[in-house]
């Protein structure tokens, strides 16, 4: 070692070096601490702090009518949210939300004051243009989220059928609910590690979303719109509570229109009372009254107890147990054929036929025609109706069930029963979905109800209803033969009896009768102008049939 010439003692330099070595030892120790001892817990902390699983929403399938018109679609929407902890100017945010998003600024201010929360929606699924206007204000702490909003471009058309999908794109009612598994798709998910600024650092696991499939309905937008229009008109004119119309293709069971009045805007489904949005054709029942006589007559013919020409001597009034049954209009005792019983809608005649059948056989035929159990239509919340089993019939039941009293059915059940007769005796399950995605066409289940021969005779007899002297002459459609039946049923009142002022007027018809293409059922609940099915409901049928036959270009079968 060189001797320092007394100038600067090396001892001091060594001391300085020692101090530095100590400092480096400290740094080394700290590295060992971080990488050796604390490595595991820090690594766990690093992952857990920022790991986040985000859902990748699947877009909801659209709903089309049978011709490809959009009935329900996913629309681009932008949700606007704020992070109260990052908002610098809550007043400006509140004002923007008030001016552009339709919020009450005071509410927003209150929400933003809660600093414990880091996420509040200013407006869920706002109009993208409004969201853009907010974006342009450049507010700190306000964020935007692209979402899909369910929209019903046709407004009120088929609103009762389509139902409603909620804010989270889940089907809550109607077909949206029924078809949710198909429409919804499967959301994907992505587990990502995020840095504190919310930027994704790496993707750990990712499952891609599967978008929902589109659904094509059997409904025809034009027929549906026309049905709703016509019902709205009759509702106005008759000052009725509600009205329904079912337009069914008897050959396929496809529902071409399923209308309920009053209507509402499907986009506002969520805001309305459930009562208002019920699809009455499926979820509600009515006493069918005379339209039900077809079932009694069908049963009598099928059992071989009579032919359409078999004649009976019928007084105006007969006694059944404790009840008196009489026809709707006073008349003398006369002989009527089975065909006349149906076309003139004789209560006494039909009850006589019912008595000939006996309650057991009649009950079996009622069940056979599909009453008292769901049709299995692809719509949620279908009711089975109210049909008493034979063993619970009272002595007077045979006096009212054959003529459609003391029994409750849905419009769709009734339309399907008439469609079976129209379809040469073969019942086809009514349905609303024609095709799912690119899948095959949906076919309804089939079941023979009556023989071809009986079916032909029933249709022929129903033609008499619309002919001169029948109850349903107002249902006539120029150029086409119509087979149908009127119905006027007084509604059960609270005291267990029947109301004398509240009725359900209905008409169900088959057209063209020679080669049935359509079955149309119209029910009008509590009309105030006139109560008779032949007066109130039959013209509605005629309106609907005329439009539909023309629209579908069905060749006329009459002069």
């Amino acid at each position: 070692m060189t001797r320092a010439r007394g100038s600067v003692p090396n001892r001091r330099i060594r001391l300085l070096l020692a101090v530095l070595v100590l400092m480096f030892a400290l740094a080394f120790g700290r590295t060992v601490w971080l990488q050796g001892i604390r490595a595991e817990p820090l690594a766990r902390l690093a992952e857990s702090q920022h790991r986040q699983t985000v859902a990748l929403p699947a877009s909801r399938g659209a709903i089309y009518d049978r011709t490809g018109v959009q009935l329900a679609i996913g629309e681009r929407a932008t949700s606007v949210y704020a992070d109260p902890r990052q908002v610098r100017n809550p007043r400006a945010v509140a004002i923007a939300a008030g001016q552009l998003l339709g919020r009450d600024p005071d509410d927003v201010l209150e929400e933003l004051a809660d600093r414990r929360r880091s996420f509040v929606f200013l407006r869920r699924k706002a109009d993208p243009a409004a969201a853009d206007a907010v974006r342009r204000r450049g507010l700190v702490g306000v964020g935007f989220l692209d979402e899909e909003r369910r929209a019903y471009p046709q407004g009120s058309i088929a609103a009762h059928v389509l139902g409603y999908a909620g804010l989270d794109n889940d089907g809550l009612a109607g077909l949206e609910k029924q078809l949710d598994p198909v429409l919804a798709g499967v959301p994907g998910s992505e587990t990502i590690v995020k840095d504190p600024f919310g930027r994704a650092v790496k993707v750990i696991r990712s499952t891609p979303e599967q978008n929902g499939r589109d659904v094509h309905l059997t409904l025809d937008q034009n027929l549906q719109a026309n049905a709703e229009l016509v019902l709205a008109k009759v509702l106005r004119e008759s000052r009725a509570k509600s009205a329904t119309a079912v337009v069914l293709d008897p050959r396929s069971g496809e529902l071409l229109a399923l209308a309920v009045a009053p209507t509402f805007d499907a986009n506002r489904f969520g805001e309305l009372a459930a009562q208002r949005t019920r699809n009455l054709t499926v979820t509600d029942t009515y006493e069918p009254g005379s339209t039900f006589k077809l079932i009694t007559v069908g049963a009598v013919l099928s059992e071989g107890l009579a032919t359409p020409a078999t004649a009976y001597t019928l007084p105006y009034e007969i006694q059944v147990a404790d009840r008196k049954i009489h026809d709707s209009h006073p008349r003398d005792t006369e002989r009527m054929t089975v065909a006349e019983i149906l076309s003139r809608s004789s209560n006494v005649g039909t009850v006589t036929l019912g008595q000939e059948l006996g309650k057991r056989r009649l009950a079996r035929w009622i069940e056979h025609f599909g009453f008292g159990r769901p049709t299995g239509i692809d719509f949620p919340g279908e009711t089975r109706g109210i049909v008493l089993p034979a063993e619970r019939w009272s002595d007077s039941s045979i006096g009212n069930i054959p003529i459609g009293q003391g029994i409750a059915v849905t419009p769709v059940q009734m339309a399907a029963a008439y469609a079976a007769v129209a379809n040469r005796g073969v019942w086809v399950r009514p349905h609303l979905v024609r095709r799912i995605g690119r899948g095959p066409r949906v076919r309804g289940a089939r079941k023979r109800l009556v023989s071809r021969d009986v079916a032909a005779k029933l249709v022929e007899m129903l033609r008499g209803v619309v002919d001169e002297g029948g109850t349903g002459t107002a249902a006539a459609v120029p150029g086409y033969t119509v087979a149908g039946k009127t119905g006027t049923a007084s509604k059960p009142d609270e005291r267990g009896g029947y109301s004398t002022s509240r009725y359900v007027a209905s008409f169900v018809g088959v057209v063209p009768a020679s080669d049935p293409r359509l079955v149309i059922l119209v029910t009008i609940d509590e009309p105030r102008s006139a109560i008779w099915g032949g007066v109130v409901a039959a013209p509605v049928f005629a309106d609907l049939a005329r439009f539909a036959l023309q629209y579908l270009e069905v060749p006329p079968d009459a002069r």
């Binding site: 070692m1 060189t2 320092a4 010439r5 100038s7 600067v8 003692p9 090396n10 001091r12 330099i13 060594r14 300085l16 070096l17 530095l20 070595v21 400092m23 480096f24 400290l26 740094a27 080394f28 700290r30 590295t31 060992v32 971080l34 990488q35 050796g36 604390r38 490595a39 820090l42 690594a43 902390l45 690093a46 702090q49 990502i192 840095d195 504190p196 930027r199 994704a200 650092v201 790496k202 993707v203």
Partner: protein, 421 residues
Amino acid sequence: MSARNRELANLLAVGVLTGLGFASVYIARQSEISTGSLSYAGFFFGLYLVAHAVCRFTIPYADPYLLPMAALLTGIGLTAIYRLDPEDAFRQGRWIAISVVFFAAILLLLRRDYRRLESYKYLFGLGALVLLALPALPGIGETVNGARLWVRVGAFQFQPGELAKLMLIVFLAGYLREKREVLAQGRLKDFGPLLLIWGGAMLVLVQTNDLGSALLYFGIFLGMLYVATGRLAFVIAGLALFLGGSYAVYTFVPRVQDRVSIWLDPWKDAQGAGYQIIQSSYSIASGGFGGTGFGRGTFTGTGGDQVIPFLNTDFIYSAIAQEVGLVGASALLLVYMLFVVRGFRTALLADDGFSKLLAAGLTFGFALQTFIILGGILRLIPLTGITLPFVSYGGSSVLANFALLGGILLVSNRAGARGGA
């Protein structure tokens, strides 16, 4: 084996290591980078052969380990920078080339006798002051990330503080050699210069808002003052003054307060102010014992954005520690330690006061800077925005460190020549 042959052998080893480093980055990131990366090692090795040749010619008796260690550090740095961003590595490589030229120029200019620098000590002192003041000047001074440390003239941007540090050391070496006896007597009026430099350090602190730079300048001064006078009292008094002054600054400069509170508890604001240091801790910790391997660490998000801000400058140690693990990080610390030991050995071997003070000052400055940034990253002391010598990305830093290396080597050569003769 002569000193220069030993140096050459060491450089060959460093060349092989650097080649291996680039090769492993290439293997890990083949999908993103080209075989061109491998040429970096060759270019780099050639550059150091040139430096070696200049050394052979100018300073044949100098320490044979300092240049290879500097080469190793720049090699590690360049590999790490290349791994983070090849374009940055290209710029850094250019700066290393410029720095080697600068290094060679210093050696050539001062090869006869560097001690004539002593006569220009006041010029150096003045130069240091001017350089320190530059960033404060409007028009050319620039604030980067809250610290006013930069000067921009046209497209040219540099940190004058790095060179000011060297000039300060040269000035102090000359000044203290001359005045050390007077100072050692410890009369009250002799505290004048001490107070002056303390005031300067405080000014730097207030101006740059950077505790680390102030600590570096004042630390260098205290270290050299102690070596020159042997009065521990000065050091203690100086430290007390510094702490007192820093506390005063702390009370009214919010940015300094932030730095300190982050240091004390980064988790308090883990998503905001504490973010950088916490991410750095995660990065270091995730390296574990053996590291992820060169090129295999995680520093960027899926979007390609960097997770830790200033990763290739202030935080390059965090990146290296993750990829090479505890083993590699310890080795890196060891290289720094060895560099410091060789530097102090040079100071010990020097036979005149100026040389001793110069070598000790340069080495001490180098060591203190290394410790301040490492200590900041490792959360031993509040974090500071200064570079890790030779390793961090940054032109001014590399240039200054090569000048520093040149200075130590010149002193070493003189001592070696005398020893050998």
